[in-house]
C-alpha cells in the first residue's frame, strides 16, 4: 500500500505510510489452527472414531458420499441468512415442511418418477416462497432474536403441520389414495413409502440426460439473446455461444463408444468421478491462466492454479495405488444431487458478486450503514429468508427421494438441527459461513454419525452410547458455537452508530 509517486494535484501532506506486518509462516500456521480449532477437533474425533469402530475406510467413504448427496443441499441453504446477518436459520424446518406437503400430494395423485418430482417441486417452490416471505417479515419484527425465534417458529410450524396432516387431510380435505390414511381414522399415516414412485427419482438421473438438458437450456438462452441483440443491433452473445458449443461438444463425447459408459451409468463410480474431476480442474486452471494472459491482473496468483492441477493429478494418480483403489472402488456418487450441490456452491459464490449479494453483505455487517446507504434493509432480509427457505425445501426433496420413505411426522423435525450442526462442525460461526466450511462440515459430521454407534459399542460395549453421543455432539456443537458467538460479541461490543 506504500505509494511513492505522489499525485500532482495532491496538496495535502501524505500521512505516514502504514506498514502491515507480514506474518511469518509460523504465525500463519498458528492463526490458521486457532481459527479452525472446532473443525480440527472434529477431524481428530472422526479419525479416532473411525479407527476405533473397526469400519473399513471404504465403507465409511461410501456411506459419507450417500449422506453427502442426501443432506448437502440443505446445509448449503443455510449460508445466505448468515451472510445477511440473520444467524443460523433454524426455521429451515418450514422449508422442509413445505417440501413434504408437495411430495405428499405428488404421491397422492399417483405420480411417479421425474413427473412426480417435478410436481412436488412445483408445489414446494411457491409454498416455500410464501413461507419464507412470512418468516422474513416476522424476523424483521424480532431483530436480534432471529435464532431463538426461528427455533420456536420451527416448533410452532410443526404443530400446524401436524394439525393439517392429522386432522385436515383426509377429514376436511379429501385424499385420493386411501392407503395413505390411518386405517379406521382420519389423517395421514405415519410413514409414506416412496418405493416404486419417487425413490431415487433424482439420484438415478444419468449424466448424459443432464448434459442434454444443459444443452437445451443453453440453446434456448442463446437463441433468445441472439434475437434480442440482433434486434438492438448489438454484437452476438459470444460467451453464451462458446459455452453452448463447448457443452454440445461434451455431449457429443457421450456417443464416443469408449466414453459412453461414463455418461450412461445410473450412478457415477467414484473412480470415474475423480478422472472427470481432474479433467475439469485442468480445463478450469488452463482457462484461468489463459484469461490472465489476455487480460492481466496484478493480483493473479499463478501458483494457486498450478496447485489445483497438481492436486487433481495427484488424486488421479492415487487411484492407481492398490490400497486407495480398494477404498474407493465400491463407492459411487449420485449424479444429479451432486451436480445440484455443486451448482448451489457456484450460485452462493456468484451471488456474492451480484448487487443483491453485496447489499446483503452490507446489511449483514451493519443495518445502520446499509440503511444510511439507501439499501432497503427489511426487504433484503426478507429476500434472504425466501431464498433460504426455498433452497431448504428443495434440499428436503432431494433428501426424501434418496431416503425412499418418509416419516410424515418426523422427517422434518431434525432438519434444522442436523444441518446447522454440520455447518458448525465445519468451522462456520453465527456470522461467517462459507461453501468450504459447509462441505467440510457435512463430511465430518456424517462420518461421526456413521461410526459413532460402533465406536461406542467397541469402547463401552454399548452401541447406544455412540448413538447418544452423536446426538449430544449435534446439540453440543450448536450450544458451543452460540455461546462463543455471544461471548465474543460481549468482549468486543459491536460498533454502535448513531441513528
Amino acid at each position: 500500500m506504500k505509494n511513492n509517486n505522489d499525485m500532482n494535484q495532491s496538496v495535502v501532506s501524505q500521512p505516514d505510510v502504514i506498514v502491515m506486518q507480514p506474518e511469518t509462516p509460523m504465525q500463519k500456521t498458528l492463526s490458521w489452527i486457532f481459527e479452525n480449532k472446532v473443525m480440527l477437533m472434529f477431524v481428530a474425533l472422526c479419525v479416532g472414531a473411525v479407527a476405533v469402530s473397526g469400519n473399513t475406510v471404504g465403507f465409511v467413504l461410501g456411506n459419507v458420499l450417500v449422506r453427502f448427496g442426501r443432506n448437502g443441499f440443505t446445509v448449503l441453504s443455510l449460508l445466505i441468512p448468515v451472510l445477511a446477518g440473520m444467524g443460523l436459520n433454524f426455521s429451515i424446518v418450514i422449508g422442509a415442511i413445505a417440501a413434504q406437503t408437495g411430495l405428499f400430494f405428488a404421491v397422492d395423485w399417483g405420480l411417479t418418477g421425474m413427473t412426480g418430482m417435478l410436481v412436488a417441486f412445483l408445489i414446494t417452490t411457491p409454498l416455500t416462497m410464501l413461507f419464507g416471505f412470512g418468516v422474513g417479515r416476522l424476523f424483521n419484527k424480532m431483530k436480534g432474536a432471529e435464532m431463538i425465534a426461528g427455533l420456536i417458529l420451527g416448533f410452532f410450524a410443526d404443530g400446524l403441520y401436524q394439525l393439517f396432516f392429522l386432522y385436515i387431510l383426509g377429514g376436511l380435505l379429501p385424499v385420493r389414495t386411501n392407503n395413505l390414511i390411518i386405517p379406521g381414522g382420519i389423517g395421514i399415516k405415519n410413514t409414506i413409502d416412496l418405493t416404486g414412485n419417487m425413490k431415487y427419482a433424482l439420484d438415478l438421473v444419468k449424466l448424459v440426460d443432464l448434459l442434454l438438458v444443459l444443452v437445451a437450456l443453453l440453446a434456448v438462452i442463446a437463441v433468445i439473446q441472439t434475437v434480442v441483440r440482433l434486434k438492438n443491433k448489438q454484437s452476438l452473445p459470444l460467451k453464451t455461444l462458446i459455452l453452448l458449443v463447448l457443452v454440445a461438444l461434451v455431449y457429443g463425447l457421450t456417443f464416443v463408444p469408449g466414453l459412453s459408459d461414463y455418461f450412461r451409468t445410473d450412478r457415477l463410480p467414484l473412480v470415474n468421478a475423480i478422472e472427470m474431476g481432474m479433467a475439469m480442474a485442468i480445463v478450469y486452471a488452463l482457462w484461468k491462466i489463459i484469461a490472465n494472459r489476455v487480460n492481466p491482473d496484478k493480483r493473479f496468483k499463478l501458483g494457486r492454479y498450478l496447485i489445483i492441477v497438481a492436486v487433481a493429478v495427484g488424486l488421479f494418480a492415487l487411484t492407481y495405488v492398490p490400497f486407495f483403489y480398494d477404498v474407493i472402488k465400491s463407492s459411487s456418487i449420485a449424479v444429479l444431487p451432486f451436480a445440484l450441490i455443486a451448482g448451489l456452491c457456484v450460485f452462493n459464490q456468484v451471488f456474492l458478486s451480484t448487487r443483491l449479494g453485496q447489499n446483503m453483505r452490507t446489511v449483514g455487517q451493519s443495518q445502520v450503514i446499509a440503511n444510511a446507504s439507501g439499501i432497503h434493509v427489511d426487504r433484503v432480509r426478507v429476500i434472504a429468508m425466501i431464498m433460504s427457505t426455498v433452497l431448504a425445501g428443495w434440499g428436503q426433496l432431494i433428501y426424501l427421494q434418496n431416503l425412499g420413505t418418509f416419516a410424515t411426522y418426523g422427517a422434518h423435525l431434525q432438519v434444522g438441527q442436523f444441518a446447522i450442526a454440520a455447518l458448525l462442525v465445519g468451522g462456520a460461526s453465527v456470522q461467517k459461513a462459507t461453501n468450504k466450511q459447509a462441505i467440510t462440515g457435512i463430511i465430518l459430521f456424517h462420518t461421526l454419525f456413521i461410526v459413532a454407534p460402533e465406536a461406542g459399542a467397541k469402547l463401552f460395549n454399548n452401541a447406544m452410547i455412540g448413538e447418544y453421543f452423536r446426538v449430544f455432539v449435534s446439540y453440543g456443537v450448536i450450544a458451543l458455537s452460540l455461546a462463543m458467538h455471544a461471548w465474543q460479541r460481549k468482549k468486543k461490543p459491536e460498533l454502535e452508530l448513531p441513528k
Partner: protein, 537 residues
C-alpha cells in the same frame, strides 16, 4: 458570491411538543464556502441539521416552518435519501464504515456499479454482476480528489483512524452531484496532526466548489479555515458574519451571553469556603467511559460549597462521577475527605457517603417498573441496611417504615403522584428526577453529586429542584457537586465552576466571570491566553 447560494434555509422554526427549539433561524452557504456553525449544546445545531436531512424525527413531530432552497430551488426534503439526491452529504463523527469491506466497497456502498446479466432482465438490477474494476476506478478518483493515495482494495478494519475519516469523506465526494458536505465535529476523534490534515482536505474540497458546513466546538479551527460562520444560541440566530470580521473572544461571548439570575445570593463576596477542608479531591484521575473520557483530571471540591462541572457534551464531565462511583473503569486517585477511594471496588464511594443522581434517569437512575416507595428506599436498604426487618435468617423489607419514609419524601420534594405505590415509569420527567433525588437524600450523604439535574424537565420543576439543592447545602451543610451542560443553571447556584474540555479541567471560574471566558474555556482556550496573543500582535 456569484449566482444563488448552494443552501439557503430561511426563517426556520421548529417546535417539539410545544417546546420551541428553533426560532426563525437562517443559514446560507455559498459554493466553495466553508461555513462554521457554532453554539452550545442545545443551541439547535443538530435540529437544524436534522431538518436539512429530512430526518424522520422532524416529520413525525409535526414538521417545521420556514423554507429550504438548494441552488436557488425550493425543496422539501422528506427523508435522508432525498437529501442525498439533492447533493447533500454528511461526514459523521463516528464513522459509517464497514470494517470487513475494502475501501472501494465502502466508498461505493449502496451505489455499486453493476453490469446487467441474463437474470437482471427478469429480476431487475439487483441481479447485476458487480463491476469491481469500475468501482475501483471511481474509488481511486474520489480518493485522489481529496489528495489521498491509498490502494482501494485494502480492508478498512486495519486502517488508522484518520484514514477512516478520509474514506468516509471520499465516499461522500464520490456521490454524483455532491454540492454540500456537512462535517459534524470531524476532529473530535482525531489526533492533532490528523486534525490538521483534515482541515487541509476540507479546504481542498471547498476549492472544488463544494460548500461545507463545519460543526465544531473548537473555535481555533473555526478561525483557521472557516470563511464565515453562524452562531446559534437557545435556538435563535445570534450572528451571521464573515470570520474575518470577528475575534475569537467575540464569538465565544456571543455563544454564551445571556442573563443569569442567581438563585443563591452571593452577596458581595464569595461564600466562605472551607479551603482547608477538601471534600472531594481528584488527582490525575482518568475514566474510560465511552464518549465521556476523563484524561488525567485534577480538581478539588471544598466542604460545604456548591461546585459545578460544566463544558460541552462528550468532553468528559459526565465520566467523572461515573468513574468515582465505580461504574466505569477509572485510574488515578479520588479522595473523599482525605480518604482514598478504592475505585475497583463497586460502591466504595457509597460507603464513603457520596451519593449520586445519574444523568441518565431512565437508564440508570430508576427502576421504572417498581413503585416510588421501592425506588426511594432501595439504596438505603441495600447500602445501609435500613428499612429492613429480620425474620429468621431473612432480612425482609419493612413496608411500614418504607411507606412512611416515602410519603415524607413525597411531601418534602412535592412529588406529584397518586401515591407511594405508583410506578416511577408513569411519572413525568421532573417527578422522576425528584424520586432520584429522594433516593440519594435517603442515603443521608455528605457529598451529593447530581448530574444534569434539570435535563428534560419543565421550568417550574427545574427551579424547584435547584432550590432544593441549595436548601440542602445551606441548611445541612451538604457538599454539592453539580454536573451540567447548562451553563445558566451552573452559574445560577454554584460557588465555583470548572469547565471541562477534552477530559481535563480547562479552567475554574467564578459564576460571575465573563461570557467570553466561559465560551473560550469550553472550546479549550483561556481568555487570558487569547488576550495575551492579541496583545502580542
Amino acid at each position: 458570491m456569484d449566482g444563488p447560494p448552494i443552501l439557503s434555509m430561511k426563517g426556520i422554526s421548529k417546535e417539539y411538543f410545544g417546546n420551541r427549539v428553533l426560532k426563525d433561524v437562517d443559514l446560507v452557504v455559498g459554493p466553495g464556502e466553508i461555513h462554521a456553525l457554532v453554539g452550545e449544546n442545545g443551541a439547535g445545531k443538530s435540529t437544524l441539521m436534522n431538518i436539512l436531512f429530512g430526518m424522520p424525527v422532524i416529520h413525525t413531530t409535526g414538521g417545521f416552518e420556514g423554507e429550504v432552497e438548494i441552488a436557488g430551488q425550493a425543496v422539501k426534503i422528506m427523508n435522508p435519501h432525498e437529501a442525498m439526491d439533492h447533493g447533500i452529504g454528511m461526514v459523521h463523527q463516528e464513522f459509517m464504515l464497514i470494517p470487513d469491506f475494502t475501501i472501494a466497497e465502502n466508498i461505493k456502498v449502496g451505489r455499486e456499479i453493476g453490469t446487467p446479466t441474463v437474470f437482471s432482465k427478469i429480476l431487475g438490477p439487483s441481479m447485476d454482476i458487480l463491476d469491481r474494476e469500475a468501482m475501483s476506478r471511481d474509488a481511486k478518483k474520489a480518493l485522489s480528489r481529496i489528495g489521498m493515495n491509498i490502494e482501494d482494495y485494502v480492508k478498512v478494519a486495519g486502517l488508522p483512524i484518520g484514514y477512516k475519516q478520509f474514506v468516509e469523506i471520499a465516499r461522500e465526494i464520490d456521490k454524483t452531484g455532491i454540492k454540500l458536505l456537512v462535517f459534524d465535529e470531524p476532529t473530535a476523534v482525531l489526533a492533532e496532526s490528523e486534525a490538521e490534515r483534515l482541515l487541509e482536505i476540507m479546504k481542498l474540497i471547498a476549492d472544488q466548489g463544494i460548500a461545507i458546513i463545519f460543526i465544531t466546538h473548537r473555535l481555533d479551527e473555526v478561525m483557521a479555515i472557516a470563511d464565515s460562520l453562524t452562531i446559534l444560541r437557545d435556538g435563535e440566530l445570534v450572528e451571521r458574519s464573515s470570520t474575518r470580521d470577528m475575534t475569537v473572544v467575540e464569538i465565544a461571548a456571543k455563544m454564551i451571553g445571556r442573563k443569569v439570575e442567581r438563585l443563591v445570593d452571593l452577596g458581595d463576596t464569595c461564600r466562605v469556603c472551607d479551603q482547608e477542608n477538601v471534600a472531594l479531591e481528584l488527582n490525575n484521575f482518568s475514566v474510560d467511559m465511552p464518549g465521556e473520557q476523563v484524561k488525567g483530571m485534577n480538581a478539588s471540591v471544598y466542604k460545604g460549597e456548591i461546585f459545578g462541572f460544566g463544558g460541552l457534551a462528550g468532553q468528559g464531565k459526565i465520566g467523572i462521577i461515573n468513574g468515582i462511583m465505580g461504574l466505569f473503569p477509572a485510574e488515578g486517585d479520588a479522595l473523599v475527605f482525605g480518604e482514598k477511594l478504592r475505585l475497583e471496588r463497586l460502591g466504595d464511594a457509597l460507603k464513603h457517603d457520596v451519593a449520586f443522581v445519574s444523568e441518565d434517569r431512565r437508564g440508570v437512575g430508576l427502576l421504572l417498573n417498581e413503585s416510588i416507595e421501592r425506588n426511594i428506599v432501595f439504596s438505603a436498604m441495600q447500602v445501609h441496611n435500613q428499612f429492613l426487618r429480620r425474620i429468621g435468617p431473612m432480612k425482609m423489607i419493612n413496608r411500614k417504615k418504607a411507606k412512611k419514609h416515602a410519603i415524607d419524601m413525597i411531601k418534602l420534594l412535592d412529588i406529584r403522584c397518586t401515591g407511594p405505590q405508583q410506578k416511577t415509569g408513569s411519572l413525568s420527567g421532573g417527578n422522576q428526577q425528584k424520586v432520584c433525588l429522594a433516593r440519594a437524600l435517603t442515603l443521608n450523604p455528605k457529598i451529593l453529586v447530581v448530574a444534569e439535574p434539570t435535563r428534560g424537565i419543565d421550568i417550574g420543576a427545574k427551579k424547584l429542584v435547584l432550590e432544593h439543592l441549595v436548601k440542602m447545602n445551606v441548611d445541612e451543610g451538604m457538599t454539592i457537586v453539580i454536573i451540567s451542560s447548562e451553563l445558566v443553571e451552573l452559574r445560577s447556584i454554584c460557588d465555583r465552576i470548572a469547565i471541562v474540555s477534552e477530559g481535563k479541567v480547562e479552567e475554574i471560574l467564578p459564576p460571575d466571570a465573563s461570557d467570553a471566558a466561559f465560551g473560550l474555556a469550553m472550546s479549550g482556550m483561556s481568555l487570558a491566553g487569547v488576550e495575551g496573543e492579541v496583545k502580542d500582535e
